[in-house]
């Protein structure tokens, strides 16, 4: 049975230079894969025994280029191994191939990533919003979207207005001051 080291080596050889193994962090293996090779690498990993997609998430490194990062948390029940696969997405491209044909759970995860970050998934069978309502014009987890929200109005469906944030930001005090940890507006000097 293949262990993670041999999988590392075989994928390094197979996708020469397109798969970079990141430094081990807390015993967790992370691969950085080039966007063009993302689907072949993930398909090969599925065949290698990574049968479970634990999570699919996205990161917005606002101000950096490429701006977005997509993270796949894989697990192999046969090998009892975790593997994190990352790829970067530039804002101009803003799309990655869907993996919902490999792991069916990716269907809703990708809908969420699309809803919150605006990243499109090519070939997705049903790329609708999942949390916000259909027709909402923004992607609220982007770093340049204000926490208080923006004005929208779809008659008879939904509307939204900015929330009042006077005295904010609303923060939680460190754990040693557990007496007043309730998130609330505090003067910035007291934080």
């Amino acid at each position: 049975m293949a262990d993670l080291t041999s999988i590392n080596n075989s994928f390094q050889a197979r996708f020469s230079g397109k798969v970079k193994v990141q430094p081990l962090f807390r015993e967790e293996t992370t691969w950085l894969v080039e966007g063009s090779e993302l689907l072949p690498v993930l398909t090969a990993l599925k065949e290698e025994g990574f049968d479970l997609l634990i999570d699919l998430s996205t990161v917005d490194n606002f101000g950096d280029e490429p701006r977005f990062e997509i993270v796949y948390e894989l697990y192999s029940t046969a090998l009892n191994q975790n593997l994190r696969v990352k790829a970067v997405i530039s804002e101009d491209v803003n799309s990655v191939p869907t993996v919902s044909s490999l792991w069916r759970t990716a269907n809703w995860h990708e809908r969420e990533a699309y809803d919150m970050m605006g990243i499109r998934f090519e070939g997705h069978p049903d790329l609708r919003r999942i949390l916000m309502w259909e027709g909402y014009p923004y992607h609220p987890l982007k770093k340049d979207f204000p926490l208080e929200g923006k004005v929208t109005d779809m008659p008879d469906i939904a509307f939204s207005k900015p929330a009042p944030l006077e005295g904010g930001p609303f923060v939680t005090a460190p754990a040693d001051r557990s007496g007043d940890r309730e998130p609330k507006a505090r003067p910035s000097a007291a934080v």
């Binding site: 916000m132 979207f145 939904a158 939204s160 929330a163 609303f170």
Partner: protein, 171 residues
């Protein structure tokens, strides 16, 4: 000489008659048989369920008939965080309730948005529909809901139910 015996003192019914005004009796009937529409949207709904179950027993106040059809209810209990996605659905349910109707905003979220100063949450259900009683707490305990219900009963008892009726007839 006409027969006035029916209007005379009758010892058989003395003590069995209560004199009141029509308005007071209408209000008394309304306040003691509120049929709630449980609009459970978040954790407040758990406390609402607790208030309905045996330990707290909301039926002591005549409000145990939770109807899941707005057409059979006269009290909307908004229990929980009202997101913008749910806001117009809540208003639609309120609109479908027959008059007279009342609204309890249960908990911090339904009253003001609570801790959710966020793009996704309506900052208080009173932005959409009129609220009679606000209940503080996150979530409020069942006792607080019962207290709110009693406050609403006090409010109903002072309403001008009959004169409103006359105004509507005239209009």
């Amino acid at each position: 000489m006409s027969d006035l015996s029916e209007l005379n003192y009758n010892s058989k019914v003395e003590g069995n008659i209560v004199l009141t005004t029509l308005e007071a009796s209408i209000n008394w009937m309304r306040k003691n048989s509120l049929w709630p529409m449980p609009m459970g949207l978040a954790c407040c709904a758990i406390e609402l369920m607790a208030a309905a179950s045996s330990r707290f027993d909301i039926s002591r106040f005549g409000a145990e008939v939770m109807r899941f059809s707005p057409r059979q209810s006269d009290l909307l209990i908004v229990a929980g965080t009202v997101t913008y996605k749910m806001a117009l659905a809540t208003k639609r349910i309120y609109d479908q309730m027959p008059d007279p109707k009342w609204v309890i905003a249960m908990g911090a979220c339904a009253s003001t948005g609570g801790m959710y100063r966020s793009y996704a949450v309506l900052q208080g259900i009173d932005n959409l529909i009129p609220v009679d009683v606000y209940i503080s707490g996150c979530p409020p305990r069942p006792e607080a809901l019962l207290e709110g219900l009693m406050q609403l009963q006090k409010k109903i008892a002072t309403e001008k139910s009959l004169s409103t009726l006359k105004q509507e007839e005239a209009a």
